[in-house]
């Protein structure tokens, strides 16, 4: 049986984020005021306007900074967006704890700059990319997607990212490459959950090559017009909207082309409950709870469940699975 070690810091000892932010702001304002007073010319030099950057770029490895030049609403929905607070305050990111508010509370110390993504395996152009170099050549797009968690709740999130297919294309995978494995950063000093054995670390996920190349699959670097916050998987994460949320692996450091179905963290933890495919499917229940309906968060206290749709409503992915028994390949 797995036991969670208690974090060294009690929740009550941690500075409330609002207080923390205010304190930060105070330090920042006081600091810059002192700087301006003492060395006005120097301060002016360092303050480069963000708008001067080329379109479609941003400081991808700096969390929460504004992104520019992205194609707005490249994919959208008429559903109501969840608030920034919802999306950044209610997360499953076990590297920072198993509670829904743990990622927001404990992800602050993760350093995402500089960030390198290794692209390797069965491809002609393996490379270690600086995040900027991986993303910059591709047009950023806003993709407003539904996110359906395997725990039967959902949100609507305005991601900003690039089609995964474009990144794959550049690496030139060989004909033997039939699957892709993704790996999350392993850094227990900054990811306190990795000192417990909730799951095997690092977190790994995978897609079949044709799934990965589907235009809906993206690598997200931002959300709500800003680069991702740590609790949402900064600086770069996968978003596969027709699959349960845990397939959309966060803080990716490695993308590897392989010739057989790769291991994935949740199926390693419990294959009976979490399969490789994990497509959103209202007809195939989790062994311990129903997947027929979900609660859309953000609706307040009186908020009835809504029916869950096949492939989370993204019917265009159905041809990927034609002829497959989705009860068997859950």
């Amino acid at each position: 049986m797995l036991l969670k070690r208690n974090p060294d810091i009690r929740a009550s000892e941690i500075t409330d984020e609002r207080v923390y932010l205010k304190r930060r702001e105070f330090i920042r304002i006081a600091g810059s005021a002192a700087l301006v007073a003492a060395a006005a010319p120097l301060a002016a030099c360092s303050a480069e306007p963000l708008g001067a950057e080329p379109a479609g770029t941003g400081p991808f490895d700096t969390t929460g900074s504004p992104l520019t030049g992205y194609k707005e609403k490249a994919v959208t929905t008429d559903e109501k967006l969840n608030s920034f607070e919802d999306i950044t305050g209610y997360n499953n990111y076990y590297e920072f704890g198993t509670g829904k508010s743990d990622p927001k509370a404990y992800s602050g110390s993760l350093k995402t700059s500089p960030w390198t993504v290794k692209v390797d395996g069965l491809c002609n152009k393996p490379a270690d990319y600086h995040l900027e170099d991986l993303i910059k050549p591709i047009q950023l797009e806003e993709r407003i997607y539904r996110l359906r968690c395997v725990e039967a709740w959902s949100m609507v999130i305005p991601w900003i990212g690039v089609p995964l297919a474009k990144v794959i294309e550049r690496a030139e995978p060989t004909s033997k490459a039939t699957f892709i494995q993704f790996t999350t950063l392993l850094r227990p000093t900054q990811m306190p959950g990795q000192t417990t054995s909730v799951l095997e670390w690092p977190y790994v996920e995978g897609l079949r090559m044709d799934e990965a190349k589907h235009p809906l699959a993206i690598l997200a670097v931002g959300m709500y017009g800003k680069t991702l916050l740590n609790q949402n998987g900064a600086p770069i994460r996968l978003v596969v909207p027709w699959k349960y949320g845990f397939k959309s692996i966060k803080s990716i450091v490695r993308i590897r082309f392989v010739d057989k179905q790769p291991e994935t963290s949740w199926s390693l933890s419990n294959l009976q409950e979490y399969g490789f495919y994990s497509n959103v499917n209202p007809q195939v229940d989790h062994p311990r709870w129903s997947q027929a309906s979900e609660r859309r968060l953000g609706g307040g206290l009186v908020n009835s469940r809504i029916p869950t749709k096949m492939f989370n409503g993204y019917d265009e992915v159905a041809p990927l699975y034609s002829g497959m028994d989705l009860r068997r390949y859950y």
Binding site: K4, K100, W153, T196, S293, R295
Partner: protein
């Protein structure tokens, strides 16, 4: 003095629901408010259940017999939080969709466990009055042993609810297991004690 202590215990048991009511009324619940309500009432139900089950072992070990006077209060508060937990599930989580609820109870093991724990507590709450204790006599104690089954169901209910069985659900299961094991050991010890007495007599 004793009256004051009892009043204090009563208000301490009431405090979590008062605070929860305040958070609900002022919009201070979490981003998933229904889940927040369910988790909070569920965890307090478990805490009070553990407290109720701890009375007898504590009494046996310390010989502090007056503590028994608190058992009924803790037991009834346990039932109160369980009933609240169940009502929130029925009303706010499932919106009184009886079909879905019945399906859940029959098909979802963790709901089945929670539901069983709740149902078994109903006769205990009903027969907790002085009148019923007198009327049932020796059978009262036998009936109230149902709480052991209820406790096991409650522990499993929490374990099966989570995605991975770590942390808090495991600790509660261990504590409930220890409290029940104490009773078994105590029974065995007294049986052995009686046997040796008979031999020496």
């Amino acid at each position: 003095m004793h009256k004051a202590a009892k009043a204090l215990a009563f208000f301490a048991c009431l405090a979590p629901v008062v605070w929860l009511g305040f958070r609900t009324a002022t919009g201070r619940l979490g981003i998933n408010p229904v889940e927040d309500l369910e988790l909070t009432t569920g965890i307090w139900a478990l805490r009070l259940l553990v407290l109720t089950l701890a009375i007898t072992p504590l009494r046996r070990i310390t010989g502090w017999n007056r503590i028994i006077q608190y058992r009924r209060m803790f037991g009834l508060f346990t039932f109160f939080y369980v009933a609240l937990h169940f009502s929130i599930y029925v009303g706010l989580d499932e919106f009184f969709a009886l079909g879905a609820i019945l399906k859940d109870v029959a098909k979802r093991p963790f709901i089945t466990m929670g539901f069983t724990a709740f149902v078994l507590m109903i006769p205990l709450a009903l027969t907790s009055t002085k009148g019923w204790i007198r009327r049932l006599g020796k059978r009262w104690q036998l009936l109230h042993r149902l709480i052991y089954i209820s406790a096991v169901c409650a522990a499993i209910h929490y374990l099966w609810k989570v995605k991975v069985m770590i942390g808090s659900p495991v600790y509660y299961a261990i504590v409930i297991g220890l409290l029940l094991a104490f009773r078994v050991l105590w029974e065995l010890r007294s049986a052995k004690f009686l046997k040796t007495q008979r031999i020496t007599a």
